[in-house]
């Protein structure tokens, strides 16, 4: 299997090459073999010793191609596939690929305080589409690209959850 870590250039080819019994395995990552001892494991996480070093990982959400894990308190997004060319992956800050998207999503939950655009308006990347209030703060949701506002999906005084679509911009 091939793996890629978000924000890191290098890609990794990795697999288990031997089961030594007693929860000890040999794994190969790129050209190097490592000793892996599993301490505990279930579908939510794993504790293991890699070579001589203890690690603890939590498995968060995952799809076929992408998995979010927290390793030793560090959150990491891993993309996996048998052939990497097929996968389009995100960069933190969300520039690449975002332009192609129709939906403007809110990255925070909150109450809609005001809406700054109307359907049919032209907007530029970075223009304020609406303002949310959360934890006594006002936060502006800004357009992710240049375009025309196709639909607005929220109402004033309504509430928005994290990841909800605020507007569609063509």
């Amino acid at each position: 299997m091939n793996y890629k870590i978000q924000d890191i250039e290098k890609s990794f080819e990795g697999r288990i090459i031997e089961n030594l019994g007693n929860n000890d395995y040999v794994i190969k990552i790129n050209d190097n073999e490592h000793k892996l001892k599993i301490i505990t494991m279930n579908s939510k996480g794993i504790e293991f010793i890699l070579d001589q070093k203890y690690h603890k990982a939590k498995y968060l959400e995952q799809s076929t191609n992408e998995m979010n894990i927290v390793i030793d308190n560090v959150p990491i997004t891993i993309n996996r596939n048998t052939h990497f060319d097929e996968v389009v992956y995100k960069i933190t800050g969300g520039a690449s690929g975002a332009d192609a998207q129709l939906s403007l999503k809110s990255q925070i939950p909150g109450k809609v305080v005001s809406i700054s655009v109307s359907e049919g308006d032209s907007v530029k990347k970075g223009d304020v589409v609406c303002t949310l209030e959360s934890m006594k703060m006002q936060v502006a949701i800004k357009s992710h690209k240049d375009g025309v506002v196709k639909t607005i999906k929220v109402k004033e005084t309504g509430t928005v959850a994290k990841g909800d679509v605020v507007a569609e911009i063509e």
């Binding site: 890191i8 288990i16 794994i27 990552i29 939590k58 498995y59 030793d72 891993i78 109450k111 959360s134």
Partner: protein, 495 residues
């Protein structure tokens, strides 16, 4: 003598007050909104009363309801914490009238502290330096221009009805001043229907340094040293430390004497904070008094050895201070990091939701005041402060390295936090050197440094992450896809 205290607050500060009361054998009464029935302060108090809906206006700011619970629970005192009703002089006065011991200054003194203009006037009278500027509201644009020329540009035009950066202009010459005066006036009128402008010297590369005030009901007053709170975002403190790296003993004593004068000038009783701006030339200017226990009080507790909540209760009981200024000695160095639920990369936007798992750091000279527990929720209705992580050391570097270790141990699942930013700051040369100012983050490019650090951390953990992913792929994926892994003889049993 106070025997039962209602705590009109929530979160970590409610827990802080409960902790000392418990130790002293004082009963505690918690209040809670719909959002908080499962919160720690409800669980730790002697009694807990529901007071209304999630929105602060309908619960923690509901004076009538809180007063009702004080009376029905038989509480003889109230501790307001910080925020909510803590600096509401009407509420303090109502408590006084009902013979309830309000643990804080009198309503009258609070009133004076809350009125920035009157307070500034009182300080000028007491010879406590304030930021140079108009003694009160300016009459018109000509008056403003005259003052600006007296104190020298750049100056700040500020509408007293503004706040949070609105209704403020920095101007550097007469022409800009005349234009700015127009703008600020019209902004203020359009926002609140009236305008009232003051002029103040604009200071660059300032440090925020504050002093712990302490005065009993008999007029005995001391200061309990300074705290430097220069590292901020959007005028909100992120990291505090004591002592300040630029305050020597001579300065500490000299400004400390001003602080005692300030507390006398407003007849302040109980604990409070006198905030100063320290200009780059070394001058200290009084800004305002926070008439309550401060968020960052633990670092002053660490270097003074005092329990401030006990001190507050003793003062409220009418006891004289058990020490004089000369008895107070600063011991070691303390740092506080405010662990906020916010996304540094989304311009510090709030991050809320369930926290399925949390690991609270601990260890010698580590203190973490928090309401977090595994399974709790960070609510969008209240502020973003989840925890205050404090460390002490005999040297600054001991305190700093203890903080870094503790930050590394701190894990909060489910929300974004300011922890990674603090690791970057505490590791930076600029922080180590004490090169602080209120624009620290911007001036030293801390967000860019953070981005780099996060990438480095990912590279460091990449092999372990891939190992965890391999196990997951080879075992769980094969299971999900009902297609036994081909590349390995995988036999680990699920638990």
């Amino acid at each position: 003598m106070i025997e039962k205290v209602l705590i009109a607050n929530r979160g970590e500060i409610a827990l802080r007050v409960i902790r000392t009361c418990k130790r002293l054998g004082i009963k505690t009464v918690a209040v809670y909104s719909d959002e908080d029935y499962n919160s720690m302060h409800v669980k730790q108090a002697t009694e807990a009363y529901h007071i209304g809906e999630a929105s602060p206006a309908k619960s923690y700011l509901n004076q009538e309801k809180i007063l009702e619970v004080i009376l029905s629970s038989g509480s003889d005192a109230i501790h307001p914490g910080y925020g909510f009703l803590s600096e509401n002089s009407d509420f303090a006065t109502t408590c006084e009238k009902n013979n309830i011991n309000f643990i804080g200054p009198s309503g009258k003194s609070m009133d004076l502290c809350g009125d920035k203009m009157q307070c500034k006037a009182a300080m000028l009278k007491a010879k406590v330096p304030t930021v140079p500027g108009s003694p009160g509201l300016v009459k018109d644009v000509n008056d403003a221009e005259k003052i600006a020329n007296d104190i020298g540009y750049p100056v700040m035009l500020k509408s007293v009805y503004g706040g949070g950066g609105r209704g403020i202009r920095i101007v550097t010459n007469d022409k800009e001043l005349r234009e700015g005066f127009e703008t600020v006036t019209s902004e203020s009128i359009s926002a609140v229907g009236k305008s009232a402008i003051i002029v103040e010297k604009y200071l660059e590369k300032t440090r925020h340094i504050e002093y712990q005030m302490c005065r009993d009901k008999h007029g005995n007053a001391v200061h309990i040293f300074e705290r430097e709170c220069s590292i901020q975002r959007r005028n909100q403190k992120l990291i505090e430390q004591t002592p300040s790296p630029i305050v020597d003993q001579e300065t500490r004593d000299r400004v400390g004497e001003l602080v005692v004068k300030a507390s006398e000038a407003v007849d302040y009783t109980n604990l409070g904070t006198a905030e100063f701006l320290r200009a780059d030339n070394g001058e200290f200017y009084f800004i305002e008094i926070n008439a309550r226990l401060q968020v960052e009080h633990p670092i002053s507790e660490m270097v003074s050895g005092l329990d401030f909540v006990k001190l507050q209760i003793d003062i409220a009981n009418g006891e004289p201070l058990p020490f004089k200024q000369k008895d107070l000695k600063m011991n070691g160095y303390a740092i506080e990091c405010r662990i906020n639920a916010e996304d540094t990369f989304l311009d510090f936007a709030p991050s809320t939701g369930p926290v399925p798992d949390v690991t609270i750091p601990s260890g010698p000279s580590v203190r973490c005041d928090t309401y977090l527990y595994p399974g709790c929720t960070v609510s969008p209705f209240y502020d973003s402060l989840m925890a205050k992580l404090c460390t002490w050391g005999q040297t600054f570097d001991e305190s700093r390295t203890r903080m870094l270790t503790a930050l590394n141990d701190f894990y909060i699942q489910g929300v974004e936090t300011s922890i990674p930013l603090y690791k970057t700051i505490l590791n930076s040369e600029e922080y180590k050197k004490g090169d602080l100012s209120t624009d620290f983050l911007k001036r030293h490019g801390m967000i860019d440094k953070l981005t780099e650090d996060l990438k480095k951390e990912k590279i460091e953990k990449s092999e372990a992450a891939i190992a965890a992913a391999i196990v997951h792929s080879e075992y769980f994926n094969s299971r999900i896809q009902n297609n036994p892994s081909s590349s390995s003889n995988w036999k680990y049993k699920l638990d």
